[in-house]
């Protein structure tokens, strides 16, 4: 994973609650065996008209003034539903580096952090302010300091956001969690010798 220390970019808003992972990437795109090229499937059923190819001119990501936006402002409870890690892969593929909401579904948040996509939790007032800013001025940018855990708004106000200390360490240092777990090999072996195996699938 690449290091993620600072993020800055223009914002785009989807003021819709409970955007589920079937909207972020519909299941028919899950037949892949790698992670590449999923950006074009992001929000596919909202982004394209019924033929699946013609961009829906009303969908916010298709509006030229929001092209290049890298910070998504979403309604409450973003990423609910399936465990598919294809959701953060698709969002990263579509150019997003962070998603801002009042809260995130647990599995999505875990998956996002493991891929360097930052889920930023803000209060409802900040969320509404960002919705308005994005609508009024599509060039609005925000910046994020991962170490300081702050989101800086265009008016200079810095909003703190929670971030699990371990996830932060991994983001700042570009560390993935598998390396950490592999280093615990002796502890895992000790656990295994102290606890009888519950089921044996190969039996």
């Amino acid at each position: 994973m690449e290091k993620v220390k600072r993020i800055s970019g223009s914002i785009v808003s989807m003021p819709v609650n409970d955007i589920d992972t079937d909207q972020i990437i519909p299941a028919r795109f899950l037949k892949v065996t790698d992670k590449q090229g999923l950006g074009k499937a992001a929000f596919c059923d909202w982004r394209y008209l019924e033929d699946g190819e013609t961009p829906n001119p009303e969908f916010v990501l298709n509006r030229p003034e929001y092209r290049g936006a890298s910070v998504l402002i979403a309604g409450n409870n973003f990423g609910c539903g399936s465990s598919r890690e294809h959701a953060p892969w698709a969002l990263l593929g579509a150019g997003f580096k962070a998603v801002i909401s009042t809260d995130f579904a647990d599995i999505f948040r875990n998956n996002a952090l493991k891929n360097g996509l930052l889920p930023i939790i803000v209060d409802a007032d900040t969320q509404q302010q960002l919705f308005s800013l994005a609508e009024e001025d599509p060039s609005t940018s925000v910046s994020v300091d991962v170490d300081a855990q702050t989101l800086t708004l265009p008016d200079g106000r810095a909003v703190s956001f929670p971030l699990d200390g371990f996830a932060k360490y991994c983001l700042l240092n570009g560390v993935d969690q598998l390396g950490y777990l592999l280093a615990l090999d002796d502890e895992v072996s000790a656990y295994e010798s102290g606890h009888p195996q519950r089921v044996m699938t190969t039996a």
């Binding site: 360490y169 777990l181 089921v199």
Partner: protein, 480 residues
């Protein structure tokens, strides 16, 4: 009572016995995983990750694979083969076979007598047992909590972690007691309980929590019913849902292929009887429902939290005070092409789907078949019945259920996830309405532009016969 005197919850007991390294200020807990279930959709990138690093699967003997999501459910051809129509799905299935072969993981391929939906096969083979930790790259892993296991869905990176280390980094979740007291009325089922719970707390209401379902109505459910309830915990935002193991649990497990035997059985039973939450143990949150006040439930919107009693009217956005919720409801009703105040009873439907990891087990099929006996699917409706596993399918066929479905005009298909996730060609056409026993009514979930009403197998069967959304209790009364 717990060893140190402090009363503990079922969750705490399972969590505490699986800690490899305690949670600290610097890092989440490292949790040991007893059973890892893998399927073709969320595993290929995880296998690539461990292959790229030259790693092995640490415990192939605690891992099991099955094909379910992208497998066809069309009947076998004259060679006895179930043909995969789609080249990408075929490649994914081939990749899965190779990955399981290369790493020594037992796997049930398409056509195997044990193949089926991952959350159906674990319990039916006795692999799912009380007090275990169970994970899978699938959010409905919560199903296995019905046995008093701690079971939850994980992402593909985490699938890689478990393959390589048999552990996971996890922050300790909060607990929520979901009390369902009283007795269910006739025609009201486990599915109606969980749809009512989710309608109450909302789709994000359980985020960060593990549910424990408690109370007389839960205790009275069969294991299949408890699995239906736990399955949809994730639709309330909870990653896991649990039910304390009891004699119903033990009777279900005993004698199954991977169940402990002889002295091991006695030892396991003694251990399992210690698992239920101690009297006086505290939960972080608690909610209560009365089972005797429930009637069949149905969803009207585009997430499982948008559910209501089947005789209720679709809510109006203008009654919603929260602006975000108002917008979400407007969007949902536009997608569903429903009007505020409209009754769903009598609403014409196109498809009925009975299946999915929520409602494809033998008791679900029996319930639906009993209802369909001597009745016909309405001419305007396509009814698909998709058993959860090959084993369920054989059992149903031994009981003659398939003949009842076929005589009624329903399709009897091979096992798999099918139209719940619409990856395998089983899907709604744009604009169609379905009454579905699955777990998600998200936009496009059952096919692009398709519209889903989630309900119980009984409600689904009654609606298939009537050709429109129907309260099964009216027809049950007529029958009796």
């Amino acid at each position: 009572m717990s060893q140190n005197g402090r009363p503990r919850t079922l969750f705490e007991k399972v969590w505490n016995t699986h800690i490899v390294r305690e949670q600290s200020a610097d890092a989440p807990a490292v949790l040991y995983i007893d059973l890892h279930l893998v399927h073709e959709v969320t595993s290929p990138q995880a296998f690539s990750m461990i292959r790229d690093r030259g790693l092995k699967v640490r415990r192939p003997d605690q891992t099991i694979g099955t094909m379910d999501h992208s497998t066809p459910t069309t009947p076998r051809n004259e060679l006895g083969i179930i043909p995969v129509a789609d080249a990408m799905a075929a490649k994914q299935l081939d990749t899965f076979t190779k990955n399981c072969d290369d790493f020594g993981i037992p796997m049930y391929a398409l056509g195997d007598e044990h193949q089926g939906i991952v959350h159906v096969i674990g319990p039916e083979q006795g692999l799912t047992q009380p007090g275990m930790t169970i994970v899978c790259g699938d959010s409905h892993t919560s199903t296995h909590g019905a046995f008093g296991a701690l079971a939850f869905g994980i992402g593909t990176s985490e699938v890689g972690h478990v393959l390589a280390t048999q552990t996971l980094l996890q922050n300790r979740p909060h607990t929520m007691a979901v009390n369902v007291e009283g007795k269910l009325g006739e025609g009201v089922t486990a599915k109606d309980i969980i749809l009512a719970v989710i309608a109450r707390i909302g789709i994000g209401g359980g985020t960060g929590h593990v549910f424990e379902y408690r109370g007389e109505a839960i205790r009275s459910l069969s294991m299949e019913g408890r699995m239906t309830v736990c399955n949809m915990s994730i639709e309330g935002g909870a990653r896991a849902g649990m039910v304390a193991p009891d004699d119903t649990t033990f009777e279900y497990i005993q004698g199954r292929q991977h169940a402990p035997q002889g002295a091991d059985w006695d030892a396991a039973l003694a251990r399992w009887r210690q698992l239920p939450t101690d009297d006086g143990a505290a939960f972080d949150q608690e909610i209560s429902l009365r089972a005797d006040e429930l009637i069949p439930m149905i969803t009207y919107g585009t997430n499982p939290g948008m559910g209501m009693p089947i005789d209720a009217a679709v809510p109006a956005p203008e009654d919603e005070r929260d602006i975000n919720r108002k917008i979400a409801l407007e969007k949902a009703l536009a997608y569903m092409d429903l009007a505020p105040g409209q009754q769903l009873l009598g609403k014409a439907i196109d498809v009925v789907f009975i299946g999915s990891c929520t409602n494809s087990r033998i008791t679900d099929l029996r319930q639906a078949a009993q209802f369909m006996q001597g009745r016909k699917v309405a001419d305007s409706v396509r009814m698909m019945v998709v058993p959860g596993s090959q084993q369920v399918k054989r059992q149903a066929e031994n009981e003659g259920l398939h003949e009842i479905f076929r005589a009624a005009g329903a399709e009897w298909r091979e096992a798999g996830c099918s139209m719940c996730i619409a990856m395998n060609g089983d899907q709604l056409q744009p604009g169609q309405y379905a009454v579905s026993t699955s777990n998600r009514n998200f936009e496009g979930r059952q096919g692009k532009g398709g519209r889903t009403f989630l309900a119980s197998p009984l409600t689904a069967a009654a609606s298939a016969v009537a050709g429109s959304v129907t309260d099964p209790r009216a027809m049950l009364a007529g029958l009796n």
